[in-house]
Amino acid sequence: MSVDGPLLEIDALRKRFGGIVAVDGCSFSVERGSITGLIGPNGSGKTTVLNMLSGYLASDSGSIRFDGKRVARPDPTTMYRGGMSRTFQRARVLPEIDVLDNLLVAAPKRGLAVWGMSKANRATVDYAMTLLDEFKLTRLAEAKAGELSYGQQKLLEFATVLMGKPRLVLLDEPTAGVNHVMVDLMTERIREFHAKGLTFLIVEHNMEFVMSLCDPIVVLDHGKQLFAGAPDDVQQNQLVLDAYLGD
Amino acid sequence: MLSTGTRLRSWILAIGLCVGVAACGTPAPTSSSAATKGPLTIGISVSLTGDFSNTGKAAQLGYQLWASQVNAKGGVLGRQVQLTFADDASSPTQVVTNYQNFISRDNVDLVFGPYSSLLTLAAAKVANRYGYAFVEGAGNGPSVFAAHLPNLIDAGPATAINGAQVWGDYILSLPADQRPKTAAYPSLDDPFSQPAAAALQARFEAAGIKTVYSQIYPAETTSLGGVIAKVASTNPDMVVSGSQDADGWAQVQAMIQQKFNPQFLFMTNGPENPVDFPKNVGAQNTQGIFTSDVWTYNAPIPGNTAFVQAYIAKFGGDPSQIDSTSAQTYAVGQLIEAVAAKTGKIDNATIIATLHQGSYQTVVGVVSVDQYGAPKGSQFLEEWIGGTLTIVYPPNIAEHAPVIPKPVWP
């Protein structure tokens, strides 16, 4: 494992849907140990970038380097196992199964271990319970995930992707549709895991949240990087203001 | 969740028990097998729904007619005949259940066969386990006899294969210069027609009639245009169609559309239906088409006129609408009567032993079977002449001499 250089580097990423160019030669990087924010007006290609990074969408051209190694054909399963996991804009949990099971599914297991008699070993269950505890979901461990409130589902989804002990977590609008109590809880957890060495890339519309949490911030417009820098610089940059106000 | 699981299991147990009780709680049938003077109960499964339901109903009518007649005469050996019908939905699973129920639940005295060779086999095997005789009037495909069942007796004059041999008899009786030189054999993939056509093909080839086309088409084929186009391209003198009903109509229609006129056209099934055939191919197009049959309302068979009259009296309609399956199932009853008359007994062992020997006169002709219940006789040849289905061969029962060659389509 190389220790130098950024954890994630994307270079000249491009994607078109029919006649529309959604991502147009986008390049930026995520430094190790950072909480990088990814912002931009609607339709600037943030989610498309995220989908390509996490392997849900094939890029037309461009390259993705994770931990110094080029990822030739990203695929959700291998990306997750490689240490990069993501959440979705609209929380995606497995609604008809238990909250605890939602976490256990995400525990990395491969090969023969899949055919075991139990769902997970003791250590995995303990780790899952710890996470539930941290996200204040312990009492709901046996409820079906679909019965949780939307905010709880967002927390659960966040907790779930942590099961794989990732090195980079991509959060897609973690605060959208969530009340402030939960936003606070979410912020707290992000800081806590960040302190433990986890790197984040956060797509977000909530500017207050981004400005307080992220550094640096990458601004996308029309599918490419418009600007990247510290929160204060972003706020004062004329190009960024034009992009937001102009649209 | 554990407590829920336990609770669930008790619920399931409760439901299971309810079902069990319901099944066991059905009123026990009054056993009649011991009674010698009680009614003679006979269980019959017929296909009233599903693939075989057309003819299944015709089978039912024949059985019913026989029962009402024999009961009017005072029954079999003084016992009134009581028929029980069950629907098998043309399914072998259901047919097994039905015969199982007849024999081990209702303890009927006798069972008669269902319709179709496919169901006959599954049913006859159940009956065989219990030593029941299995006299049937509607399953004469080769697979039925190939199963070598000792309890099975087919109440017909001929098997499906032998039946069509009458066409071979006729063609080979013609002087060599009148015989067709080439022949085509388009056949439906089913247990009766295809083996019949194949047997004719083998016989004709041995006699020097060249085969120019021989193909089997699946039952689902709705359009036979392609088959007939190919047949027409080989331009045979004779077409032997191993057809059932609807596919036979489709063959004729395609021949007319493609203006293909063979000199000889024989179809194993289809044209023998005096109502549906002209209705579906057009009465003017029937002229000169041959088929073979076990029975028609005007066949000169002893007892046939009385049967037709009784049928019309009971069910109404026109004699030409009587399905030959009804006559065949009626013949099943006649065989039982014959056994009773000959031996004075009517148990299953006697029926099996008696019917495997000798020959018996029924409305479908003389029935005489081999050790596996296959009838040894053959059918008669019919031809459409002037819009009427006419018996033309063998000469001893012919109403008219065969008219050849077939005229071109009008």
Binding site: T77, Y150 | A86, S91, T93, R105
Partner: protein, 334 residues
């Protein structure tokens, strides 16, 4: 429960009841096998019937080509046929799993149609339309049904055991994840092809075993009913839906209600033309009023009564009201 079922023939039940028991267990086994793929993994497959038919033909062909006698030995063959059909199902699954959702259903229907075609047309192997004959087992009349009953019970028990294993294992968890949200599961590191193929092959194996016992019991197989895409295929799914898909005992409950009723009515309402209409009516009533099945409905009711559940519900209520205080709830959670 299985033990109770095993003792059933000793309860003095007559042959005809045991006969219905055999078909009930057959549907229970087929429904449970279907549950693996349709209920747990969420891929609605009409292909069970194809494997049922393969199992039936497998047994009949073994009789034809290898003299295996007609006593108890054929029963020993049943698991081997199951494994063989499971192996055959893998390449079929490879094609079918290129689709999902509704196209998957159609692909599995096509599979049944193709196999029926092959059974009809590969006359040299399958005997064509008249099918193949299997020698009758030489069991005495009174015990004949009982042996087949136990054989079918064995198939059902194995299927149920597999389902029970799946429900509490990692493999099952992966199946559920595929059912709930296959793409999300991929993003959680779940190798989704493992549970999919396991469910497909498992369903194939158990269906084939049921088919093999069925063929020996009827001692005749032919294409129309071995590959019956009409009643058998839909009957299996109806049984599962009636009992409750995704539950352990649901298919059994569904079969215990439906099969005796169906067989009994067809027998006793002999002359009725209304059989099809009644069948459709039952179907429609289940879909409209019991879409989640008997077992699921009862389980929910039981769950709602339990105290723990009440706590959860209260907790949810407070959390919900909290969430609603200042944030606009999204229109659809998922």
């Amino acid at each position: 429960m299985i033990a109770a079922l095993a003792l059933f023939p000793f309860s003095g039940a007559e042959s005809w009841i045991v006969n219905i028991g055999i078909f009930t267990l057959m549907y229970a086994a087929l429904g449970s096998a279907w549950n693996l793929i349709g209920g747990y993994t969420g891929y609605v497959s009409l292909g069970s019937v194809a494997f049922f038919g393969l199992g039936a033909y497998g047994l009949a062909l073994t009789f034809q080509h290898i003299g295996i006698g007609n006593g108890f030995l054929p029963f020993a063959l049943v698991p081997i046929i199951g494994i063989a059909v499971a192996i055959v199902s893998v390449p079929i699954g490879w094609i079918a799993f290129r689709t999902r959702g509704l196209p998957f259903i159609i692909v599995t229907i096509s599979l049944v149609i193709i196999l029926q075609y092959m059974a009809l047309n590969l006359t040299d192997i399958t005997g064509g339309a008249p099918g193949l004959q299997v020698p009758q087992a030489p069991f005495p009349p009174g015990a004949y049904e009982e042996y087949f009953y136990w054989a079918m019970l064995g198939v059902f028990a194995v299927t149920l055991l597999a389902c029970a294993y799946v429900r509490r294992s990692r493999l099952g968890l992966m199946m559920f994840a595929v059912r709930e949200d296959e793409d999300k599961a991929r993003g959680l590191g779940v190798a989704t092809s493992v549970p999919k193929y396991a469910a497909f092959a498992g369903c194939a194996a158990f269906s084939a075993m049921a088919g093999a016992v069925w063929a020996y019991y009827l001692s005749t197989v032919y294409p129309q009913f071995a590959f019956d895409g009409e009643f058998l295929a839909m009957g299996i799914i109806l049984v599962a839906y009636l009992g409750g898909i995704g539950t352990l005992w649901g298919p059994f409950v569904g079969a215990a209600i439906l099969t005796p009723a169906q067989q009994y009515f067809a027998y006793s309402l002999g002359g009725s033309q209304l059989y099809l209409i009644a069948y459709a009516a039952v179907f429609i009533v289940v879909m409209l009023f019991l879409p989640r099945g008997v077992v699921t409905t009862i389980a929910d009711r039981a769950l709602r009564r339990s105290r723990r559940r009440k706590q959860v519900v209260e907790e949810l209520a407070t959390a919900e009201s909290e969430a609603l205080r200042d944030a606009p709830a999204p229109a659809v959670a998922r």
